[in-house]
Point group: C2
Chain length 400, copies 2
């Protein structure tokens, strides 16, 4: 089952370059001899690959590790503070741009003005201008990562369905941004980007079987199975938001019926609020504002608000049961706007999981609210770029 | 994301052994120099690993490949006919035992007597006796692969839920068979075993993103994503049979409500037949016999039979839409008993997929009835053993 066995020579070389970089990323300063031993690579391959990485400035030499004059005992280092990446998060009405280093430390973050159907072209222009300005002012930036709503078709560069703001569907992210900047650009579905961020940066989530369950303007999912993101053939796997929980239920723009995101997204919550007076001025609010007003009302003791959160939480719980049966992760991290409801939401999810999941599986699964801020997806966008930097170094440096 | 970067030395060595074996399995006779070049391993590592594999008799030397006397140009070979594996398939009422070589060629196949709740202990005894007799009579047998209904908990050795024959739940397959034979035993969920068989042996399915959709006494799924089986943390991922398609639907033994297998398994079909007189003597038939009688009635022009198959096919189609959104495979292969309904079933599946799947994704997905015989799962059981042989050679030979 190991595709390496038939991989071409070029991809084997790139794979070994990547293994060396990842070794340095995860293990810190190491000598050539230590790397050679850990990865069972030839001294010749190590010498060749590290020489190119040094020449390209990707890694640097530190002092002698073992007190000898042997070149193979000199320390090699990947300085995570030396390289920066830009992360751009698109939701439907929200766009955020952040600057991060390779360890995921945030250097800056900016929210762009709220987007409506009419302002998409202006928003795209603002992103071009903003990212170009960041890159012009910071030589350390090596890549841009972009997180977009799914189902995102990797090869085509388009989101196949955007339930609540269909104009996004006409944006080809690959055509718009693929070559837009002087550094490489990588685009990934938002929840999958969030899963990479949890995997790389959240100390509690560094397990090899991790799901990031994004409940925001849309509902999305990214799953890391045995240390690897589940992709699908077009990069459109793990589209939990469009998995039906009721084949006789509410029709969705995607063509399916009873899609999960029709019941527990921020958009669905906002719609429900418009039919009640729990949040009287919901009609003039953004989806995020409306959700936050609901959560505040519940915190203030409004029983109807608490009941609506419980109902939404039960639907989120049905989604969790599907995630358990579909992916059997060891940990599910719930993030994005709706997760701000906090413990009452988590309680409703746990209630449904206790009722409906297979006990042997539920007992071994942790479900938690993301400890990263709600803007985890922008960190995820950075994680997409960082993962590419570590896995495909030759993309970043012509002479590697 | 590459776990290799932090793998222990022992697992790196085993990984390189496996890469060499897989190279020989997929590419045929190769010299040490060719392997070293293809895998970028050190000549020392190649010499050491191949010496051990030769000593253990796993591989053999053929003539000189390049007309020189150089030892590194002598051909090395993994003879797939030289090693045999036993495959055992458990369904609920069906047990099959087959003998295969490493290329998946079937040498023999035997169906054991139909199992009922009362005869499980006798069936287990028969399997012990049968497999031991096979091993005693054939020195080439290196492993036993066992395929069991899911959700199968790899670490515990138990199936967590068996809807229609609950006594199986009390069988601990690992305790019963883990050490039962003089060769290593590997146990895997049935549909996942079927996916491995399609991947290894079906020329049409050698794509890297493949789903095997088992619609038999239970409903199961195995998914290969980018060449690797999706496992989950307990080996219980891809349990499509227990994913709800209707959270307000029919309760299932697993605790969930509206589980897919309640609507389109052979057991569900049999239940439906008992409520009609389409197959008058359905009450005295096994699930398989009842399904086959239904399919024969439809073939003979019975409109009610055709309507029932269409209805079941639509439910199978809802499952396919979930598979597309959950895993985005390039190919879905439908197998096991219910797939014997053939084209009318496939037509109903395609009808639902055309209505409900995201068009950009549906357009890029092939859905086909398995070209392997209905007993593909027993071939799958063999594929489980063969995959282990190629991935973990040291398990098979003490001196490797």
């Amino acid at each position: 089952m190991n595709a390496n066995a038939t991989a071409s020579q070029a991809s084997v070389s790139e794979s070994n370059r990547s293994r060396i970089l990842q070794h340095l990323y995860h293990n810190g300063i190491s000598s050539r001899a230590q790397i050679a031993k850990a990865l069972e690579l030839t001294p010749a391959a190590i010498t060749k690959i590290t020489a190119r990485l040094l020449e390209a400035g990707v890694i640097s030499e530190t002092g002698d590790l073992e007190g000898s004059k042997n070149r193979r005992s000199i320390g090699l280092k990947l300085d995570t503070a030396q390289f920066h990446v830009v992360g751009v998060k698109f939701a439907r009405s929200l766009v955020e741009v952040g600057l991060f280093d390779l360890a995921g430390r945030r250097i800056s973050l900016e929210d762009l003005p709220t987007v409506s159907e009419d302002t998409i072209p202006a928003t795209l222009a603002t992103i071009h201008e903003h990212v170009n300005r960041l890159i012009a002012s910071d030589d350390a930036i090596v890549a841009v990562g972009i997180a977009v709503p799914g189902p995102y078709l990797q090869d085509q560069g388009r989101t196949a369905v955007v339930s609540s703001m269909t104009s996004w569907r006409s944006v080809n992210f690959l055509a718009e941004f693929g070559e837009a900047f002087p550094v490489p650009v990588f685009i990934e579905q938002d929840a999958r980007a969030g899963a990479l961020a949890q995997y790389l940066f959240d100390r509690d989530s560094t397990c090899e079987n991790l799901a990031y369950y994004l409940i925001g303007e849309g509902v999305g999912l990214g799953v890391i199975d045995n240390g690897r993101l589940i992709d699908g053939s077009q990069g459109a796997a793990t589209e939990i938001g469009h998995i039906s929980i009721d084949v006789h239920g509410i029709p969705c723009d995607c063509g399916n019926v009873g899609c999960l995101e029709r019941y527990c997204s921020a958009v669905a919550i906002h719609q429900r609020l418009l039919d009640t007076d729990i949040v009287p001025d919901a009609g003039s609010m953004t989806h995020t504002e409306a959700c936050r007003a609901l959560f505040a009302a519940a915190d203030a003791g409004d029983g109807r608000a608490a009941a609506l959160i419980h109902e939404v939480g039960r639907y989120a719980g049905y989604g969790c049961v599907t995630i358990l049966n579909a992916y059997n992760p060891a940990r599910i991290v719930v993030g994005d706007i709706v997760s701000e409801a906090g413990q009452p939401l988590l309680d409703a999810i746990h209630e449904v999981v206790a009722e409906r999941a297979i006990p042997d599986i539920a007992d071994e699964t942790t479900i938690a609210i993301s400890p990263l801020p709600t803007d985890a997806t922008v960190t995820g966008a950075a994680a997409v770029a960082i993962t590419q930097f570590l896995e495909h170094p030759s993309v970043f440096f012509d002479d590697v």
